[in-house]
Each structure stands twice: as C-alpha cells, then as structure tokens.
Amino acid sequence: MTDTPVRPDAHTETTTTTAQRIRPERTLSEVAAEVPDVRRKRRVGPRTRRLIKHLLLIGFGLIMLYPLLWMLSSSFKPNEIIFREPGLIPSEIDLTNYTAGWNALLHPFSHYLMNSAIVVMGSVLGNLISCSMAAYAFARLKFRGRPLWFAIMLMTIMLPIHVIIVPQYILFSQLEWINTFLPLIVPKLLATDAFFIFLMVQFFRGLPKELDEAARLDGCGHGRIFLRIMLPLSLPALATTAIFTFIWTWNDFFSQLIFLTRPDMYTVPIALRTFLDATSNSSWGPLFAMSIVSLIPIFFVFLFGQKYLVKGIATTGIK
C-alpha cells in the first residue's frame, strides 16, 4: 500500500476541476486513469483506505450473496407462501421446514449427511495421496514417454461424463460394486481425477529446483524428497485439492445418483433432489432448509481449510 506516484503529468491534473473531469467528451478510461491520482492528492490515510476496502468487500459480498440470502429467508417461510411472497424478509420465522425436511425422507437427514461424509472423506484421502504422487512423477521425474502420458492424463477429463457413465456402470456392475461407495471412492485412490494431478504438477514446478537437487546430493531418495520437501512446501496445493475434492464430491449428483440405488445409501445431493417433483407438488421449503443445513459443513470446512491455502513458502520464509 506504499505506492508512489510516477505519472510525469501528475501536476497538470491538480488544475482539473470536478466539472471538467466528467465532461462527457472525455473517455471513460481517461477519467478512470485519474482517479487514483486524485485520491492520492487527498492523502487518504491507511485507516480510511482500509475502511473503504471493507465497505467495498461487504457491499460486493452482499450482492454476491443475495441469492443465498433469499434461500435462507425462504427456508423460514411456509412452503405455500414462498412464491406468493417472494420478498427477502420473512413475515415470521417458521422452523417447520427444518423439522419436516429433516424427517421427510425415509431416513433422518443425518443419515444422508453421514453417507456423504463417508464418500467425501474417502475421496479427499484418495486424491491427496494418489494425485500428489502422480504429480511428483510428472513434475520432477524423467521417464520415457512422459509427454505422451501427460497428454493422455489430460485427455481423460475431456469427455463429458454422460457418455462414460454407462460403460462405467457396466464395469462396476460386473465388479458388483453397484450400491456400495466403492465406485465413488476407489477411482479417487487410483488418481483418476486428472484435474488435481495437473494442479499439483503446476505447484511442484513452481518450487525451486535447487531444493531437491541439494537434497539429492545429501543422498535423499525420491521418496524422502517427496515426503520431506515437496509435500510440506505444497501445503496450499494440498489444501486446494482437499477443499475442492470435498466440495465437488459433496455436490456431485450424477454419478452418485447412478451408482447408489438403494435409499439407505443415498447421499445429500440425491436426497435433496427427492424433495422436488416436476410432475406434482414440490417441497421447496424443506429443500431450501436442508440445502442450508448441507451448506453448513462445507462452509466450515472452507473456513477452517482456507488458512492452509495461504501458508505458502512465502510465509515460511524459504527462498
């Protein structure tokens, strides 16, 4: 925040009046270019500037959150009036959507939360281990056919799931994995999520190579370099992987719908959909209420996990 004005024509600006500045014939970019200079002239203190930043972030955040707030507010309205009275402020707080939604499906909603949690935990663990290993190989090791394998890896995420799901179903059905969590977890343990391999490759490649070369000279093998140097220094990447896997698995609808056939195995996204029926009446209120409930865990995971996102090497002081 200690920027110094470097514009050579800064002095000419001091004479421009406000009226002149908004003359319509002036282009928007010209006006915009001046704004920082004008602000600097007034010598805005760091405190005011922070306040402005807070206000901007809050204001913008409110716009971003409007749909969410509407959902929150609607979750407190009786199902019948959600559409008749779509205002943001509910006329009364009614918790029946929460109590009804919690028990509306064959099992209490906690059952579906628990199923989702199992799938999510397995996926996070799987992705963290398998993807970071593969990424280390792609980022740091030299082996024959590396570009080709890398290309193949990227290719595996370029096909839409809708044409893969049926062969997958047949495959898992032959393995008798249908209606277990295996089709959702085992692939993660086998690094089938190329997104995260690529992500970690990019982060590993951003780490200074001198580090592992020095370790190599000290006689460290790849296993130790990976465990002792790469992983600790890639905490942000690992946190990103964990958070994303968590959220995407938590929200993933299609594959969970197809692979889990019995209601006792259903996860949150499938349970949420069963509140709706396009052909007769839908329980929007309970849907909103349970959506809020299912957002709470991911919100806290993010709130807790985000501090690891910013624990990069810059803060740990190496390099």
């Binding site: 019948e80 032959q174 393995l175 069963t274 396009a278």
Partner: protein, 445 residues
Amino acid sequence: MRATTTRRGRSRAAFIAFTAAGALALGACSGDSGVPGEAGETEASEEGGDGDVSIRFSWWGSDDRHQTTQEIIDLFEEKNPGITVVPDFTDWGGYWDKLATTVAGGDTPDVITHEERFIADYANRGVLADLESLDIDTSEIPETVLDGGRVDGALYGLATGVNAYAMVADPEVFADAGVDVPDDTTWTWEEFVEVSGQISEAAGDGVWGTQDLGFNEAGLSILARQKGQALFNEDGTLGVDAETVSQFFQIGLDLQENGGSPDGSRTTEIQAAGPEGSLLGTNSGAMGVWWSNQLGALSSASGHDLELLRIPGETEFDRTGMYFKPAMFYSVSATTEHPEESALFVDFLLNDPEAAALQLTDRGLPSNLSVRESILGDLEAADAKVAEFMAALDEEIVDAPPVPPNGAGDVQDIITRINSEVLFGSMTPDEAAEAFLSEVEAATS
C-alpha cells in the same frame, strides 16, 4: 413377442459380458490381480439366506410419495412374508437417466413405474414383460384404461390411476376482475381467448387471464381429437394436419395480442416454475391448463378454492377431445428373476383397498373402480373435487388416445421450443406447424 424378448435379453447379456470381459482384460494388462471381495455382501444380504425373495421397485416423485410408498411396501411385506421389496426412488429427471443406465447395465428393476411418453421406447425394445402373461387381476379396471397400456396388442403397463387435462380456474380472481366464470360445457376457444383478455384488462397490473397453454402437447392432442383427428394414430404415425397445429399455436399468439397471457419471457419463466410458481399458484392469474392431479398442489400454493373446468371447444367441433390419461404405469421387467412375486406386488398395488387407502390419489384417481369407490370418502377437498369432475366427464369421453410411439418423449421438448418461437415472434403459427410436424415425424420414426 415372447421369442423376441428373450432373444433381445440374451444379446443384451452378451453385450454386457463382452464389454465386461474387455474391462477385465484391460485391468489384467496393468497387472492388478482382481476385485475386492467386500462388494458381494450387500447383494447377499439383499437376497436373504433361506429362500427369501427380494424385488426392486422403482418410482419417481417427491418426499410425500416416498413416505406413503414406503408404508405401502411395509404393508405388503407384512402380508407376504418372504418377499422383500427394495425401494428405488428418485426425482423425475434423475429417474429416467438412472432407469436407462440400469437397463443398459442389465440391472433392470423388477417392478418399474412408467410413463406414457417413454413406455413405447422400453416396450418396443423388449425391456418390459407382457403383463397378461402374469397373474394380475385387472377385472376392475375399465377396458379403455387398460388399452392405454397396450403397445402392439401386448399389455406392458397397468395404469396406476387416471388424470384429465383440464382448465383450472380461480373464481376469486374472476370475481375481482368482475368477469363471470364461463360455462365450460359450451365455451369455445375464441371465448376462452376473449375472457382471458377481459380479465387481464380489468384486473390491472400483475394479473393475467391465463397462463399460456402451448407448452404441452396434451392441449394439441385434445384440439386434434375435437376435430376428429389425433396427435398420433394407432400405428404411431402423426394424425394431425398442419391447419390444426397452426390453429393451436394461434391461440397462444392471440392471447399475447389481447394481453390475456403474459409476454413471451415471463410466460417462459412461469412455465418452468411448476405449480407453485404458476400464475394460479401465485394468485396472479385466473386460469391455466393442468393435469387434474395437480389441483391439490395448485390449491395449496394459491390458498384459494380452485375449480376444474372443461377444456374449451368440447362442443365446438365434431366430437369431444378430452380424455383420461394413465397417470403412470406399473410395468414388470422382462428379465426379472421373480416374475410371480413382481406380479403379486403389482396386483397388490392396484387392487388392495388398504394400499389404496394409504395412497389415495397420489398416483392419479385409482384406475381400479371398486378401489376408487372405497377411497372417495377419505379424500381431501381438492382431490374430492377432482373425483367429482372425473365422474362427470366419464359420460362425455369417447375413447383414449393410443400409446404414443417410440421417441414420444421428445415431443414435449419440441413443442416447448416451437411454441417459444411463436411467442417471441420468430415464427408464424403456420411456420411453427410445419416445423412441429416435421420434427415430430423425425423424432418418432
């Protein structure tokens, strides 16, 4: 029919075996030894140890239906020890994706809930069993309703209940606008358009006469029948001429012009919002066409006492066009290992008065007439109104339209798209009629 079914069944199994072998061969290449053993457990517990039979029943719906259906299943299991019914429910959209995938994977549910638009696709491809070869009592179901589940002479689906496509009206909105509710036994399409315009004009901002009716082919089907035509003929070909289709789209355009229904974008938006977000549901419209079983959802959304009216034009042309539509079908898989138990369960769903008492009209007004009679007393106000309306219609309805052909599931998408073209002014009704006919022809051939 029998022979083809088994042949198809066998070749499907062969395909799955082939692909699975491919998968395992690929797995072997990478040096993995095999398959974890834990997966078999669920399968085993599902089947039970001592000759117990387990059948899977799939349906779509929302939470209310899931709960009542589970109660019905519990009742069935209590009365039929040794048979376990495994529920398999999802929402409407996910249901069809899942059903197609499980059929492709050779895991077809034993008892399948089906729908008019997709049943031919499944029946013609040998997925469904001919129900007349199974032991299901259909004596209490009227023949016209039974025919609704026949494809090429074989019975693939038994109607769970019946609905009628009808005009729902909100008398309070009519009264506020100072317009009389028209006599539905004689009103014409022109009167309907006029009345809608009058209401919009009198009621002021934010209230309209009617919701557009061009997004559902049922309306077109009724108009065609009124004029002695049919959307689809018995043999699955198109039975409606361009003039009639054009006339149908013209109704929507006329309503746009006289303000009887909201503009194109609002109409499209409301269309996607279901009963709860509809004009009737939000007290911002006097009329809308719906399936009769939706009256309950509409009434509770609007908080008003809604009425059912006949579709306009019933006395305007050659004959009446309204009909009873099978709300859903119960079907049985052609490859089920337990045809007797599946049949027993379908029979129970259709004919057991206790099951009916739980279900009431959730799957349409029961197709079994004695069961229908038995629940009349238990119905809520809106549903009782539906039953009454349907009873009155019974004498006027001539026949049921045949099961629509393969690919009929696309018709709704096609009519939605083309109706939007008309509402947004990018097609004239004549152009729209032509486009509709050629697209439907292509989709169903």
